[in-house]
């Protein structure tokens, strides 16, 4: 088993929490793991990504080689496209549809969606809206993770447990809100 996953987004969108959840789940599943993160300058509203590598064998490189990622999980539609050089031929691209506009030359959303649709396996969901409906507008990252979890080779239950572990010290309400958002994301792709 091997899952090479790229997490994409804009600084402040919560991709490090997605990475932490998958990481905790991987450890609980006794998988080998390397998880490379961006800290520093780009966290101020720049593009950020994380390389997550799960495997039943030891992982060498902290970075995923080009063309080898099974999955791109993106909090932002334009950002999902930035990492296409890493996506493998049969890989999945799962992205939020709500744009994060903090640059003057942000392209037309339709043009971005058209490009995403050219990717063989893609899934576009409105994570912000689903998060709001589920009662926790700030949990868009968990919605996306819920949707993408269908393409990760770990049980949904183990991902739920990781959410409980990660947010546990922030209290029950926060845990419940995140679990609800995760589930809403997962359910969104089954309709």
């Amino acid at each position: 088993m091997k899952n090479d996953i790229i997490l994409a987004g804009v600084g402040g969108q919560g991709i490090l929490s997605i990475a932490a959840v998958i990481g905790l789940a991987a450890v609980a599943n006794d998988l080998f793991l390397k998880q490379s993160e961006v800290h520093g300058m780009s966290q101020r509203g720049g593009d950020v990504q994380s390389h997550l590598r799960l495997s039943d064998k030891p992982v060498s490189s902290d970075l995923i080689p080009f063309g080898k990622a099974e999955l791109i999980i993106s909090m932002e539609p334009m950002e999902s496209l930035r990492y296409l050089p890493w996506l493998s031929e049969n890989g999945w691209l799962v992205t939020n549809s709500s744009p994060f506009i903090n640059i003057p030359d942000y392209p037309a959303t339709d043009d971005i969606i058209a490009e995403i649709k050219k990717v063989k396996n893609h899934l576009i969901i409105d994570a912000d809206a689903i998060a709001k409906q589920s009662g926790s507008a700030r949990s868009g990252n968990m919605v996306i993770l819920g949707a993408a979890s269908a393409y990760i080779d770990m049980t949904f239950e183990s991902i739920e447990n990781a959410v409980i572990k990660l947010f546990g010290r922030k209290g029950n309400d926060i845990v419940e809100a995140n679990l609800k958002a995760l589930k809403a994301g997962r359910d969104a792709i089954q309709v």
Partner: protein
């Protein structure tokens, strides 16, 4: 033993705590910041009362750690690569004095300059100072090495350089902990003169240092990290240093070519290892993250009869971070690729947060300075450096911490008046205060704006030594009361702020304007908790 999921930085911090470290000293800087932050978050460290407050800059951190080592205890200093420039005087001379308790200096390099002004390779500093260098390839090795680094440091009475790069610092993997060691007891050095570098003593100590350095090549704690694995392919043998080894292994798992591989993670390394590899192969490919440090020294040792490939002949790009594809190409192996990035994707550079006081400060400054003409606003390193980008385009420099003040002084000396410096609060206490003293003594026609967000913002909001002290510091350094102004950079105060700046730009002497507004990130975090 317990398994933890740790960043490379965190593995080093945890290892320090487990290896009996009594003090952690640091100034924040990407990608090293998380080392100190991990110690600060550790309940064990708090209970043991391990030293863990930030220092004003890397030099004060380095010297305080040396002081702790003098007193017999194990200490660690952490900084980003350019921090070692600031700490260099203390660092190089600590090799001359030697140490008492084990002393590790962690320098985190940033090849490809993800968050830095340059990509200098700290290994050169280690060689320059004649100290052992450890360069881990992964998180577990980083953890283990800290124990060996402390052992080596105490055995040879030398400080040890621990060199990591961004990818290791900020990548997480599981780390198996070891049995903890007790901290050292307080003890004085056996030679009471050993820290007095008067020429007569220093000359003697330098000879000892040079001798030690040669014996280090055969020290097991170091060369235990240099492995040779022979292979059947005689055409090319490979030397992989530190993290480059991972990219090599990533490529070798998909190929049947059996390359001989020498992994180097400890310096100085025995020359025999290289000679042995060279005797088995027709050529050598050298893979190293950063500069061609090993390559340069090897090209000197054995250039005849054997071809050497690396960064110096273009087989590997001369600059920038390595990745699996670069290494695959250098090996002559097939390299995969997904799809090109479509042209709709635009650059997304970092930018000021919504509600950032630096932005309002620059809006006011742009208006006030406009009549004097362009090219006179020097700046420094921090979030406020983003004032270089549109729509602000306010600043013309960002060189090294503190340089805004001193460059403004020099430009004013040359006749560019008024000259302006924009500096952050943490940068000011790091290295701006001495420059301000120079300005006061000469009464330079400079206007210094301290953009005070009461935190070390760029690196994630660490405590700033300047908080609550700026007015007193400036007054103490001799800035006149009537030219020491405090403003609040809010949009609603724009007109008033422009007027204050105009008044001080008109003044033919030293002015300091403190633009005070809490960082929106730390303010939000404070309200949430």
């Amino acid at each position: 033993m317990e398994k933890l999921l740790l960043l490379g930085d965190e593995a080093i911090a945890q290892a320090g705590l487990d290896a009996g470290m009594s003090g952690m000293y640091a100034y924040p800087g990407t990608p090293s910041t998380e080392i100190m932050e991990y110690v600060q978050a550790s309940a064990d460290a708090a209970e043991r009362r391990v030293h863990m407050t930030w220092s004003s800059n890397e030099k004060t951190a380095m010297e305080a750690a040396l002081g702790m080592s003098y007193a017999g205890k194990r200490a660690m200093v952490a900084m980003k690569h350019v921090g070692l420039n600031v700490a260099a005087d203390g660092f190089i001379n600590s090799a001359m004095t030697g140490v008492n308790g084990g002393l590790i200096i962690v320098a985190a390099d940033d090849p490809s300059m993800h968050s830095s002004q340059n990509e200098q390779d700290s290994r050169f500093y280690g060689k320059f100072a004649f100290v052992p260098i450890f360069e881990p390839s992964n998180q577990q090795e980083a953890y283990e090495m800290v124990f060996d680094a402390f052992e080596t440091s105490e055995k040879y009475k030398l400080p040890v350089l621990f060199r990591i790069t961004t990818r290791l610092a900020h990548s997480r993997a599981s780390v198996l902990r070891r049995e903890s060691l007790p901290e050292n007891l307080l003890s004085l050095p056996s030679d009471p003169k050993s820290f007095i570098l008067l020429p007569a003593i220093a000359r003697r100590k330098y000879k000892i240092l040079l001798e030690k350095y040669e014996t280090l090549r055969y020290e097991n704690h170091i060369s235990g990290y240099n492995h040779f694995k022979d292979g059947t392919f005689r055409e090319t043998g490979i030397i992989a240093c530190g993290i480059a080894y991972n990219y090599l292994m990533e490529n070798l798992k998909d190929t049947s070519v059996d390359f001989p591989v020498l992994k180097i993670s400890g310096y100085p390394f025995p020359k025999d290892l290289i000679k042995d590899l060279a005797s088995r192969c027709n050529s050598i490919l050298i893979l190293e993250e950063g500069a061609p440090f090993v390559e340069e020294s090897i090209r000197g040792i054995l250039d005849e009869g054997i071809k050497i490939y690396g960064r110096m002949d273009g087989t590997v790009p001369r600059d920038g971070e390595l990745n699996p594809a670069i290494v695959g190409k250098a090996l002559g192996l097939p390299v995969s690729y997904g799809q090109d990035v479509p042209s709709v994707v635009k650059m997304r550079p970092p930018s000021f947060c919504k509600g950032c006081g630096h932005a309002d400060m620059f809006m006011a400054l742009n208006e006030a300075v406009k009549p004097f003409g362009p090219g006179r606003v020097f700046s420094d390193i921090g979030c406020y450096t983003l004032g270089a980008l549109p729509p602000y385009n306010s600043i013309i420099s960002c060189v090294d911490m503190g340089a805004s003040v001193t460059m403004a002084i020099g430009a004013a000396d040359a006749g560019l008046t008024p000259s302006v410096a924009v500096i952050g609060d943490s940068t000011f206490t790091h290295s701006g205060m001495t420059g301000l003293l120079d300005a006061v003594i000469k009464n330079s026609p400079v206007t210094i704006i301290i953009s005070d967000n009461s935190t070390t913002g760029m690196t994630g909001g660490q405590k700033s030594q300047a908080t609550g002290r700026l007015v007193d510091i400036c007054r103490g350094l001799g800035v006149e009361n009537e030219h020491l102004r405090v403003i609040s950079p809010l949009h609603k105060n724009h007109e008033d702020n422009v007027r204050v700046m105009e008044e001080e730009l008109e003044y033919n002497g030293v002015s300091v304007i403190i633009a005070q507004r809490e960082c929106i990130q730390t303010a939000t975090r404070r309200k949430r908790s």
